[in-house]
Symmetry: C2
């Protein structure tokens, strides 16, 4: 390039340099490293390389752009404009040639590695860089005098036109290649998968001629209780559809340890559970593709996050080692495999799956996904991230250090082992307030916007009536009972003189608090029993003790902020959690819900190879703490049994519902969040 060549400046990247006059804008972008998308490789077909050329004075860049800085609109662009419409001022980067100094703006939709900004205030941007992308190539026709295979000529074309190293092709893809090439007149669009930038790419599929896409991926959060999947557009990161199903392994055991026991007691039991979960994954993928009206073939990738037991069962590994110390994992690193091997058989048959790495024997890929989503290693202040479920995964960290453990909270937070407990579903009490003076309760149930003392509540609740109390409801009930003086610090109901109330009913040798008597004598009463209080105390003590253990290890006695992750976490009232002593005290505005952070982490890994590399490196750096063998865990557990706050610790703050779940990109998972709410993401 000489000083007389035109100067071209790309915005917003700021990449600049001189290119020979006549260079197409797309070519210039490649030469200068500016990020400009193209699938057809400059053939004027895909229209992905649209740019907005500037004109006039650009003092910031020290450039004046003449009217004819680019070649005139040509026939290809006119035809495209007539057929599909080109926004005013837009040009096709592969057609417009640079004739003199110019400034070219690349709009977000034309950026290959566009940044998808997550909605939450503290969220990082995710740069789109999925492992699979579409590339159109023009392949040389076969020449019997210089014989070579179709695949080898395709690879030569990919190298010449896209600078891609030689790709391998699974047999079924290889078997279809020759037809695609001939149908497309030696032009073909390929889906090329390259999980790591240093790995040989793999041909996942071929389409004759130009295939516009988009390709899709499935971000799967495989929980013990529910399985959720987000169908994600691999070019924009947007969620196209979401769906969830119950984990069919529930029939082998409600919680993880009962499934490990099932594997231990029954020969072939592990294989049976593997087959069940793979079948469910397959059904879920098929259904979500149908629902979104997506060609299953366009789903070329999946990411999977799950706890270690689900991880082993999904991969076909006997989980019995996870049931006893030293809780040895069969493999802890990220696993790349054929999606079909996980039962995802009704998407693209060559689709690949990526399973996030595990952190430790009890701290799974779901926790790694939370770490990827919440990025504690980039936090200036000390963040405590808690993913509440049957097991709680707890992460504590900042830029200096990140620690992780899991704590066996048991199923009480999910409504199990609670006398009137139930899963979060319509009819379940989810919010509770108790008047400190009258000791009278009021509550809200899922599926009804009215409080129980508001007019029309009974009608609004409808025939199903009030059916029980879910995890967030029992937490609020116990905390409100404590603040209303119905409980003492040890958790005993009705021990203090002032708690005498018609609602405190003798229940054997203890008392129970009547939340809801039911419309008639036949209806079941919903009470909080002394046993319920003990179950919640055990669960919250385990959670708190885990957090304390990490704080000890970190050498701190307070944290700067708390993040409640998981579908359940999104529904916990931070105030009540703190009254209960579930989480260490922090100012109420420093408690945030991260929604289904594990699912978000799965989506980030789906959209970004850099994120995969990042979490693979980070899980190695995370210090693992094994609660099961830490003597201090027991000490903390016992000490945490009391209910610390007799009154609202933050009376000055507004007691509102928690923050909405965090989302990134054009999320569309509200429906799904509703379905799963209160579900176990553990």
């Amino acid at each position: 390039m000489t000083e007389t060549d035109p100067l071209v400046i790309f915005t917003p990247s700021g990449k600049r340099g001189r290119v020979p006059a006549g260079t197409p804008v797309l070519e210039a972008a490649r030469m200068l490293g500016a990020d400009l998308e193209s699938v057809c490789g400059g053939r004027g077909i895909c229209s992905k390389c649209q740019v907005s050329p500037g004109m006039g004075q650009f003092p910031k860049h020290g450039v004046t752009v003449a009217e004819n800085a680019l070649s005139p609109v040509n026939a290809v662009e006119r035809r495209y404009d007539e057929k599909r419409g080109l926004k005013p001022g837009r040009r096709l980067g592969c057609q417009a040639q640079i004739l003199s100094d110019t400034v070219i703006d690349v709009p977000p939709e034309s950026q290959l590695h566009r940044q998808v900004v997550r909605k939450a205030a503290d969220a990082r941007a995710v740069e789109m860089d999925p492992a699979t992308r579409l590339l159109m190539v023009e392949v040389a026709a076969p020449d019997m005098h210089a014989p070579s295979g179709d695949l080898e000529r395709l690879n030569a074309a990919l190298a010449a036109q896209w600078e891609v190293p030689s790709a391998t092709a699974p047999l079924p893809v290889l078997g279809r290649l020759q037809r695609a090439l001939r149908q497309g007149g030696w032009q073909v669009t390929v889906a090329l998968h390259q999980g790591r930038r240093d790995a040989a790419p793999r041909l996942l599929d071929t389409w004759p001629g130009f295939f516009a896409g988009p390709l899709h991926g499935l971000a799967i959060d495989l929980g013990s209780t529910t399985i959720a999947a987000h169908l994600t557009d691999l070019s924009t990161g947007a969620v196209t559809a979401s769906a969830g199903v119950m984990n069919p392994q529930i029939r082998f055991g409600e919680d993880l340890m009962s499934r490990v026991s099932y594997a231990m007691m029954n020969p072939g039991g592990a294989a049976e559970m593997t087959a069940a979960v793979r079948a469910a994954l397959g059904d879920l993928a098929r259904d979500i593709a149908r629902e979104a009206r997506i060609e299953p073939r366009a789903i070329v990738e999946a990411t999977l996050v799950c706890n270690p037991v689900m991880h082993h069962l999904a991969l076909g590994i006997d989980p019995v080692e996870l049931g006893q110390a030293p809780f040895a994992l069969a493999t802890s690193d990220a696993v790349s495999l054929d999606a079909a091997d996980l039962g995802l058989t009704e998407i693209n048959p060559a689709a690949r799956a990526y399973v996030l790495p595990l952190i430790a024997g009890h701290v799974g890929a779901d926790a790694a996904a939370v770490a990827l989503s919440e990025a504690p290693e980039t936090s200036d202040d000390l963040a405590l991230i808690v993913d509440v479920g049957t097991n709680a995964e707890i992460i504590l960290g900042n830029r200096a250090k990140v620690l992780a453990c899991s704590s066996p909270t048991g199923p009480a937070f999910e409504g199990a082992q609670i006398s009137s407990g139930q899963r979060a579903a319509p009819g379940a009490i989810e919010r509770v307030r108790i008047d400190p003076e009258t000791k009278q309760p009021r509550f809200k149930v899922i599926g009804c916007d009215l409080w129980s003392d508001e007019t029309g509540f009974a009608e609004a609740v409808g025939r199903g009536g009030v059916t029980g109390i879910c995890g967030s409801g029992i937490i609020e009930a116990v905390a409100e009972m404590r603040m209303a003086g119905l409980l003492d610090a040890s958790g005993l109901i009705g021990s203090a003189a002032q708690t005498e109330s018609e609602r405190c009913i003798a229940d054997g040798r203890t008392h129970a608090y009547l939340l809801h008597a039911g419309p008639d004598a036949a209806s079941p009463a919903i009470s909080v029993t002394q046993g319920d209080i003990r179950a919640i105390q055990l669960a919250k003590s385990a959670l708190y003790a885990g957090a304390r253990l990490l704080m000890d290890r970190m050498g701190v006695d307070r944290v700067d902020r708390v993040v409640l992750a998981g579908a359940f976490g999104a529904h916990i009232s931070p105030l009540h959690a703190m009254v209960l002593g579930m989480i260490p005290d922090v100012p109420l505005d420093r408690v945030r819900s991260a929604g289904n952070a594990a699912g978000t982490g799965a989506r980030i890994a789906l959209c970004s190879r850099a994120a995969r590399a990042l979490i693979e490196a980070n899980v190695r750096r995370i210090e693992k703490v094994e609660t099961a063998v830490e003597p201090r865990f027991q000490d903390h557990f016992v000490a945490a049994n009391a209910l610390p706050h007799a009154t609202d610790p933050f009376p000055e703050l507004c007691k509102v519902a928690p923050l909405p779940a965090v989302d990134f990109g054009a999320g569309a998972d509200s429906g799904r969040r509703r379905r799963r709410r209160g579900g176990d993401a553990n």
Copy 2:
């Protein structure tokens, strides 16, 4: 290392250097790059590292070895000697420590990369370097305070103890790893596969503790008519068992083009043929393992050679493109895949397969294997290598250049399209002599050592009698007829006055020569008809024209030597082939049979990764000539129609049977050669 450290010299490699006193011999070998085998990694278990220490004066090396140059025989060595026996003077390299200057001889069986010398005079040595090897490792037990997966700790151990990069594990292997590690008390022997030295290794299997092996591989020669397999010991290169079956695709068409037609005419026809050949491959592998009493799990690799049509059908690729110009291959490079994908399901489930590269649309991996076995690129003189079958693959070359083509000889050489033709099987005439004076024939049939004019022939042939004439028989018959004056140069029977003979019988408007009348009037007579002569003329013209075309391209009108490859080639009489004009004239002692060179090439590729790399590079360098569109091929074809030699062109030379087939290593394929003889390896 300082000048006072002991000097150690390894023979026969000549590797030498100083090591600290007390260094075990195995460790010293590693430090100095001497080739010393070990599977157990120096634990005194595998006994693979046996060495013969020298003693006394070694003037050649300038060293005097003292009696106590090595540490005394220790308890491990004594125990091994008592249990298994140690040859006199032998030491275990992992136990014997170097105390002062010493000379250590590594016997061939202790060399990892031992050279296996092929039997034939001009053969190269093959250095054992298979893709899969056994390694014993001691893996760290899991530590819950530093959690990591079994696989990750295994990889760390492989890196530390064997300097091997991280291996991946297919899911089923991963699923079995934890049990093997625990059963072996954290010692485990792994079968590690690394197809290319720069590729990530792959864990194929694990055994608790020490597993002595050996591992086996299958070298498969997949012909249109027969499929042959050699079970090969991957540590010695020796053939343990051989077997062959008919290719079940014969029911879809005898020759390749009729199978291509079947695929073209019948939807799903290609898939049907793929399923048939994969089932046959699976059966063959299962049977050979049973016959050799080998644990199928010990068979961890396979190599496959075949022509392009069989290649595509085995890989599940529609072969129709190979039926018409430009004969475009779907892929031409070597293919590495799971052996199970080829139907090899009853060997080790994680076994890998390597399919040799194709040379051109008509010149297959079988020809590449012949090139690997015969190595024309290392030949000082100009070698013509001919693999005769339904198609003849022809290679011409020397150090300067190698050319290849295939020529459509048709099935006449296999006894098809011959009036009394049949496959090479008991009862078929395979040798023919005709007395030039009396015009009376004598012959030999397969399965009988007597000539037809010897006493007891009829009894020896037995009830089956003489059933027909096979390829080598018809070639000799036609050549002998020409030498006896029964044919003129144009191939006409009985045209010359002197050929009047009772054996020349009018046959419509032409004549036939009666070879065998049969014991009674009811027996079918075996004659050579004018049509038979024409069929052989067409076939041999095609073969010759292909060779001539390559000679033209090379700019020569003679070759220095001829190699007849293929099972059929091993049975052709060079003299008669030359009388017929099948091959260019060379001195008779410059014609050699290479036996089943394609199968040998498959075995070489099984034993040596370097050989795989070599043939992959060489097929690119081979100049391909497409006979189907070369106008000169037609010219040569027409010109080659005549029968050049009216008499034996080399009367001074002994007319013996061809040389025995070439073999390398401890071959044991004679049984198999018998089964396949005359079979089509094309």
